[in-house]
Symmetry: C2
Subunit: 358 residues, 2 copies
């Protein structure tokens, strides 16, 4: 139940290869992502609520360090207490500690059965509350995705659909046939207790594929709605108990903005994205997009959250790290960077704010 | 669904506190373990097959580093892509990088229902094969524990039981009532296809508690069987596909030894322990115990496994690390240690073999 790959393979390509074995690699970020990039950013996606992130699904990896040494980070055992966790140190380091050349991934059995359920809510807070209640119920959801009414509208426009344009939750429930149905009833009951309506679910393979396809292509639907715009995608994540509050607060600010904005959340993880559409040639619009992102990051940080749930730091989020992690944390990161890459040749300028010194 | 604790609290004490909230911390090592020690050794236990190890269940932690800096490793979000994974770097570092002073743990809902099933097999290989087949079936076992016939005998003697003295598997299945029963039938079917007999299961709370109690106290049962002996507990872990082969090979060697040895495996993770009983005043017996341990570690390493699945390195397993991880890995560990603790004041002599230099 593991596989050894080179970093350039895409997760979709890998899953095509694995399907005949009844196995899959349970992460599903944007369609073009490769395993190496996914390691670099500690990536996740909509299945993380059930299977975890790259942190949880890499058994070991090989990397070339700045001094040319080739390090294998761990054995092939699925758990080990032998030494520092160099695997996890490399995952999320954004290429600043070494170049990943080989990855051993943990695989999962393709579920016997699955059901995709959808439900609408009068407010986005109701939808977020249901996502939280579903997590607290102890059932094994494999996906809980939240879309706001603007995002549903974009999907309708791009795909010629007529989904009700309300805040919407999409669930995926997996397991045996009987158990997926039992879970679907539990979710339906929770939704009905929080003003949910139009509860529908699909068991047919093609119907389920179609539903996830529109979710997966949500970003493209946004861009189709505003053809001359660029999209700024935000990525905050907070403890689950703060999600409803953060989404409500953000939604107020987004609705009051002149820019077109949609909300898509991996609600079971407390992670939510907004797609902010702006004209790249209009400096005022760019600044407004940045203001909105900044607003949400600071709101998330005030709720003990993070400026990036799964997209990484790069250079754009360097400015938030000190508030999120504190100076002692950043100095520790700098010490590790200096120890492994004293000449600063690995992806220079990324991940650690330049003002943080040894 | 998280809790902030100090490192001195025991996991059992914590779970007593959490029970009224319907929540629990899903790791169950030996009864006396504390959260700080569990972080230090990257500990796990029988529930790791379902919930993961300490690596997967700590959201963040606070540590005092060698230079007196107090580092908070991450935000309280359950996932984040913000910076190096200092949480995972501290977990499993055995106190060599800092002193942990606070830990935020991820919690789980107490399952609505559970069933404990037991089954006997003519050979230990049959039992291991069933554990592997159960994992490949995709059902959500929360525990798969394998005991050999010697361990069952020790349990019978210590507890006045009359369990059939054969290689035995114990399963725990969790979820809704209907789903736990469905899973139990799937496990029963798999067992019957691999020569399983005497399949029994318990749903009654007291009966289940009694069954796990005898498993938890297996080590004490061994010591009761040989009152003047000490126990050496081994801890190898291999990829699941090698488990049956490794257990068979080890069992042959153990059976041929004059020492009394029992096998207890967390079979779903590929992790297995033997308890080797020896008279501490008899140098020959001590050497024989060490020879057996050495045999199993080298067998595990030849199968891409680890010398320690969950107990840690300390000083006893320093000698195996180079073979398991390679010199480049150990040098990288040494560089990190030197960067964060240049004077070597944090738990000196542990984890990194002394001959590994910068």
């Amino acid at each position: 139940m593991d596989v050894v790959v080179e970093p350039g393979i895409g997760w979709m390509e890998l899953n095509e290869y694995l399907a005949p074995y009844g196995l899959f690699f349970p992460l599903d970020p944007g369609p073009g992502a490769t395993i190496g990039g996914m390691c670099g950013t500690r990536c996740s996606g909509s299945l993380a609520v059930r299977y975890g992130t790259m942190r949880d699904n890499v058994i070991n990896l090989k990397a070339v360090l700045a001094d040319g040494e080739v390090v294998k980070t761990a054995s092939r055992a699925r758990k080990s207490a032998a030494g520092y966790d160099l695997t996890r140190l490399m995952i999320g380091s954004e290429g600043t500690l070494g170049v990943i050349t080989e990855v051993t991934l943990r695989l999962q059995k393709i579920p016997e059965h699955s059901i995709v359920a959808m439900c609408n809510f009068p407010t986005i807070k109701d939808a977020a509350d249901v996502a939280i209640a579903a997590m607290l119920s102890g059932i094994q959801v494999s996906r809980v995705e939240l879309l706001d009414e603007v995002q549903v509208k974009a999907i309708n426009l791009a795909n010629g659909k007529d989904l009700p344009e309300f805040p919407t939750l999409m669930f995926e429930l997996i397991g045996t046939e009987a158990y997926t149905r039992e879970q679907t009833h539990i979710v339906q009951k929770i939704a009905s207790e929080h003003n949910g309506s139009d509860f529908v679910f699909a068991e047919d393979k093609e119907a389920k594929k179609e539903l996830w396809k529109i979710r997966k292509e949500a970003l493209y639907a946004c861009l189709a709605m505003a053809p001359n715009c660029e999209a700024m995608t935000t990525d905050v994540c907070v403890p689950l108990s703060h999600l409803a509050e953060l989404i409500s607060k953000s939604k107020q600010e987004l609705d009051a903005s002149p820019l077109l904005c949609t909300v898509i959340a991996h609600a079971g993880d407390g992670n939510f994205h907004t797609v902010i559409l702006f004209n790249p040639e209009d400096e005022g619009q760019r600044k407004e997009a940045e203001r909105l992102n900044n607003f949400m990051v600071h709101a998330a940080l005030s709720m003990e959250g993070t400026c990036t749930g799964e997209h990484g730091v790069g250079t754009g989020k360097l400015k938030y790290l000190e508030k999120e992690l504190g100076t002692a944390n950043l100095r520790t990161m700098r010490k590790i960077k200096a120890a492994l890459d004293p000449n600063g040749i690995m992806n220079p300028g990324k991940l650690i704010p330049p003002h943080v010194c040894l």
